[in-house]
Amino acid sequence: MSSMNAQEIIRSLEAEQMKPVLPVLHIGDTVKVNVRIREGGKERTQSYEGTIISMQRSGINRTVTVRRVFQGIGVERVFLVHSPRVESMTVTRLGRVRRAKLYYLRDRIGKATRVKQKIVRKST
């Protein structure tokens, strides 16, 4: 029997699978996600940009829901951030929001769907 308890063993197994560096993501941020997709035996990278409206779970199970409005139709994709299929995620714009889930954006159209930009001043 090992000296580690069950949770420690599982966490160490997950640590092997997790990406060492992840961008710091916040609700309301606009992110660009590069996803590896397979099309007819060939693999290529597709990029997808939108607003993070929800983050769920933690550790290896962490997912983010990214919403964008494409040709007048709202599209939401859920990404498993540690998945090898998610090649990279870059924050293109910081958002200033006051709640943890931005589901209210689903009911809005046009200009009302914009999230206020967060201005970060460099300290000192």
Partner: protein
Amino acid sequence: MSLGILGRKLGMTQVFDAEGRAIPVTVVEAGPCPVTQIKTEATDGYTALQIGFIETREKVLSKPEIGHCKKAGLEKPVRHLHEFRMDDVANYTLGQAVTVDIFSDGQVIDVAGTSIGKGFAGGQKRHHFARGPMAHGSKNHRAPGSIGAGTTPGRVFPGKKMPGHLGNVRVTIKKLTVIRVIPERNLILIKGGIPGVEGSLVEITPNKKVGR
């Protein structure tokens, strides 16, 4: 008719495969299990291998159990014993450790354990009965309904599905896939769920083909 191993269910997580898909896995700490008794045709009338699992203190065992472990030449007595019927036991010696390397990645296995106890459960939960309407003045929500005809036969047939104790019974799940074996840490990752609460004892055996 093949050797299995005893393990402790640790919990579930997910791992990524070569394609990048997330696969749900159950982590089981299995073995090392020392051989505690070798049964042969000559001595017992059948061939089998008995293995033990989880080293423990003598205090928690009875005197016969301690004696049995001593006879096998174990340094520390074991808490659980389990026997596997075998075709041939010539390659095994007393005290030899059975480890997870008897399994390989991608192998199809059966896992047996004691399912989670649900206590006294009603018909909906225990036998998947349909429930009655919840509204429109109905008072029949989760009741079992009719349990049989009237004067003829004048009794309830044996085996009628009714509310009662659910779970906490031995369950075997067949044809599970081994995703990864980690011999240096005595771990085995099995695709999907397995019976029992976390920390419970499970038996892992190579898949037994039934029929054909």
